[in-house]
């Protein structure tokens, strides 16, 4: 029950010019693990892994996940390279080019000019069948690249490739495979003194039978994994040559600027296009159902002409909605606090609330498209190329096969560019359709981007907890609004009665997945409340948590490490305090301690953050640390300053002056440590986020006695 099940096919074939192509396709399912609950147990994902070994002795790993700075492509290549014992300097990474062409062998045809070898077709048919059952082949989200593609694709493919290369050498030299050694992309046979590079063996390797169950390396023998390796994409990001979606250019390309109905669900009622049409460079005003676009020969001209328009939109009946009315509805839905056992020595209750948040990726939404009678081509940076293609096809009334989608570098994802929130791809395609056959690049202004997000849901919870006479908790329960059935209930604490109950209070504001999904809200709620219980019991918040973790040794080890890193319990000057919090998501456990200092006027400075992480086995130690650092800073922006506010049905904030983020000056010193572990890898892009808000809030309580129950902190009086 608690084991991953794996159904995968390994296929291999020859490349033109004498190379080996090896692929693994299938699915991995995680039915649930003992101490860590996966957030995606229903569909841990599909595998689709390709390794190419070419006569130039280069190993190319095709990665079906996009790179948005999380280092997944490099980590995945490391997992394959480790199994192969390849010389790391001879490894290259390529993002898998496209979609179900990729799944049905197009990639091999494109790379080789040859027909696809038989064994691959078998695997591909299976993969294609499976594809239909998963929401998207190439999705990058849920911190799952390393956990699924890496663990069950890259490792297996790498081990199989190594076995085939060794078998080829053994056959050529007429020796036993077991007598051969592999190191640095070279197979050698010590007794006869012979050796050959992977490149020299690749053609012969392709003729070997494909191992059905290749033996992965003993983790004790790893030499590449658990080291710090530079990311493949880094050079292009320091010299300005990386091409993001917004940078894509075609000859004769036109540029579009858009204004979208300010209230979600609203439609364009009318617009007089004359003022824009007389401006220089303007080609056309394009009316869409929910927006108006100006298409011109440059973006600046398009955006200036858009400002000359006065489009009228309806508000879809939501014009009376504000953040205040939304939270009033939340409050009503939560009703009375959860009931606590009669006879408890002490009962406490508390309400918490957090606002909507924008992803605010640094690259605003952008999409380039060209629509011709034959079909369409679309270019954008997304977290899911397959669904991007489908979205464009649906917008254009085409079959997905008539759309060619190219994914480009993403200037930030954080969930904004996942399936279900690819509205900008459909919009870009529709504008290009109106201008067919000219290619059109649509760029959203920052204001448009900020006001038309898929926001982190606003949420509210009402907690109650009961202590017995000795100060031990006997029950905790919550009612909550804003989603999160699993996120709300899981606590690593042994408490006899634990309950969480979701309530509904629907609104029209668009919501979606935001870095750590629903764990950022519930991490704040749960870890603030357990802190309140600790103080109500008159106990140290670290010791109180630790003593309840008897059944969760991984959590306990992480908590203790974070406390030790911060020298928990030391004396601090007046107005300063340490706060601790722990959360698990995407298979990784993170505890964070924040050091808060408050001036007498209540000005907060977060001086330092310590993070202890159990993410299972670490693949690339440097990118792993970078992801936790990034998660803490991302989470601090939300905790300290971030808020999307609704008024008259629309988003109030419009740009970085009123949707704030922290700066370098606000960034604390951050120290990250990983607990050595041989457990399967957990995610890293998201798990750093949830503990930081409660850690800071708990530190503020330790420093001042003020309990924070609402974010962002800039709206809370701290003196």
């Amino acid at each position: 029950m608690n084991k991953w099940t794996r159904r995968a096919f390994i296929g291999a074939g020859a490349l033109a010019g004498g190379g080996l192509a090896l692929g693994v396709l299938g699915v991995a399912l995680a039915p649930g693990r003992h101490s860590v609950v996966p957030d995606d147990a229903e569909g841990a994902g599909q595998l689709n892994t390709w390794i190419l070994v070419t006569p130039d002795n280069i190993v190319t790993v095709l990665v079906p996940h996009c790179e948005m700075g999380q280092g997944a492509q490099t980590a995945l290549a490391m997992m394959a390279a480790e199994e192969m014992d390849v010389d790391w300097s001879l490894v290259r990474v390529k993002e898998a080019p496209a979609l179900d062409e990729y799944a049905n062998g197009y990639v091999v045809r494109a790379l080789t000019g040859e027909s696809v070898p038989g064994p691959i077709e078998v695997g591909l048919d299976y993969g294609t069948y499976r594809l239909a059952r998963w929401f998207g082949l190439q999705a990058t989200g849920g911190s799952m690249s390393v956990r699924t593609t890496g663990q069950y694709g890259m490792r297996v493919a790498g081990a199989a490739a190594r076995e085939m290369l060794v078998a080829a050498a053994a056959e050529q030299w007429n020796v036993r495979a077991a007598e051969c050694q592999v190191a640095s992309s070279r197979v050698s046979h010590a007794a006869s003194g012979r050796s050959a590079t992977f490149g020299e063996l690749a053609q012969a390797a392709a003729r070997q039978s494909v191992p059905s169950r290749p033996t992965p390396k003993d983790p004790q023998a790893y030499t590449l994994r658990r080291t710090a390796r530079r990311r493949f994409d880094m050079r292009s990001k320091v010299d300005g040559s990386a091409v993001y979606g917004i940078d894509f250019t075609l000859p004769g390309m036109l540029h579009a600027a858009v204004a979208i109905a300010p209230v979600n669900g609203g439609k364009l009622v009318s617009v007089d296009s004359a003022p824009a049409e007389s401006m220089p460079g303007v080609k056309r005003v394009v009316r869409l159902e929910e927006a108006v676009a100006v298409v011109a020969d440059s973006y600046w001209r398009a955006s200036r002409a858009l400002e000359a328009l006065e489009p009228v939109f309806d508000d879809a009946g939501h014009g009376g909605v504000s953040s205040a009315t939304i939270f009033e509805a939340f409050d009503e839905a939560l009703a009375a606090p959860p009931e606590m056992p009669a006879g408890a020595a002490k009962v406490i209750t508390a309400d918490y609330r957090v606002p909507f948040l924008a992803h605010a990726t640094m690259e605003p939404m952008a999409c380039t498209a060209r629509v011709t009678p034959e079909g369409a081509e679309v270019w954008a940076g997304t977290q899911d190329p397959l669904n991007a293609r489908k979205t464009a096809a649906e917008a254009l009334g085409l079959e997905p096969g008539q759309v060619r989608f190219t994914n480009l570098a993403l200037g930030g994802g954080f969930g904004r560019r996942l399936p279900g929130s690819l509205d900008f791809v459909g919009m870009g395609a529709r504008i290009a359709q109106a201008m067919s056959p000219a290619p059109v690049k649509m760029i959203w202004s920052r204001e448009t981007d900020m006001q038309h997000g898929y926001f982190r849901p606003a949420a509210m919870s009402r907690h109650a907890g009961a202590l017995d006479a000795s100060g031990a908790p006997v029950a905790v329960a919550s009612h909550y609004v804003g989603g999160g059935d699993r996120e709300s209930t899981f606590m690593p604490y042994v408490i006899p009665e634990k309950k969480a109950e979701g309530r509904e209070a629907p609104h029209h504001v668009r919501t979606g997945a935001w870095r750590s999904v629903l764990n950022s809200q519930h991490g704040f709620f749960k870890e603030s409340f357990i802190d309140e219980l600790a103080h109500a019991a008159g106990k140290d918040p670290f010791a109180f948590r630790r003593d309840l973790m008897g059944e969760h040794p991984r959590f306990r080890a992480v908590l203790e490490r974070a406390a030790a890193m911060a020298s928990w319990g030391r004396a601090l000057p007046k107005g300063e305090g340490l706060g601790i919090a722990i959360a698990e998501c995407f298979g990784s456990i993170v505890a964070e301690v924040a050091h808060a200092a408050l001036s007498p006027e209540g000005v907060l400075k977060v001086k330092q953050v310590w993070a202890a992480v159990d993410c299972g086995e670490v693949v690339n130690t440097d990118t792993a640390a970078a992801q936790i650092e990034g998660g803490i800073i991302f989470g601090l922006s939300a905790a300290l300053v971030g808020a999307i506010t609704i008024d008259k049905g629309r988003v109030v904030e419009s740009n970085f002056h009123d949707y704030q983020m922290i700066y370098l000056a606000d960034t604390p010193a951050i120290e990250v440590q990983f607990i050595p572990s041989t457990a399967p890898p957990g995610g890293l892009g998201e798990p750093g986020v949830p503990p930081i808000a409660p850690a800071v809030a708990n530190a503020i309580f330790a420093a001042t006695g003020i309990r924070v129950r609402e974010l962002p902190l800039r709206r809370v009086r701290l003196a």
């Binding site: 700075g69 320091v238 440059s298 600046w300 954080f414 991302f634 002056h657 370098l664």
Partner: protein
């Protein structure tokens, strides 16, 4: 209206509406897309370039105000393919994540260090006000400290 500029050492004549921001001249007229659009209101710094050696946010600079100016963009920092010391430090410290804000960040830091090779933390905080969403600030500071140490100081 034709405006004469020098961009990365090359003389250029630009013929666009005078109020066109330098950012869009660089990106759309000259094809230099390493300079990024982030906000359009000089709030995020993704569009930072050097104008006569000074770090400026190009999204709010009307090109007509730049007659005769010398502009350096990220593409001009390593004209022969050899990265400047800030770019190299960014590689060594593996600073970028998505990387979108980093070209502007590198331009801002290059300007700071050419003025003050060994800045205090307060000077760093006051000068580097670029927004990064992925959360690379801890490494940005580390990389600047490393460059300052190379320049001979330890503060």
């Amino acid at each position: 209206m034709a405006i004469a500029l020098t961009v990365n050492g090359q003389p250029r004549t630009i013929d666009v509406e005078p109020e066109t921001p330098l950012l869009w001249v660089l990106r759309d007229t000259l094809g230099l897309t390493g300079t990024k659009f982030g906000c359009g209101i000089a709030a995020c710094g993704a569009c930072t370039v050097h104008v006569n050696g000074e770090p400026m946010r190009s999204c709010v600079l009307a090109v007509s105000d730049l007659e005769g100016a010398s502009i350096t963009t990220i593409e001009g920092l390593a004209p022969s393919g050899v990265l400047n010391n800030v770019q190299q430090a960014w590689l060594d410290q593996q600073v970028p994540q998505c990387g979108y804000c980093q070209t502007g960040m590198i331009m801002a830091v290059t300007a700071l260090l050419s003025e003050r090779p060994n800045p205090t933390d307060q000077e760093i905080d006051e000068s580097i006000t670029n927004i990064c969403r992925c959360g690379t600030f801890a490494r940005v500071r580390r990389a600047i400290h490393g460059l300052a140490a190379e320049a001979g100081g330890t503060r």
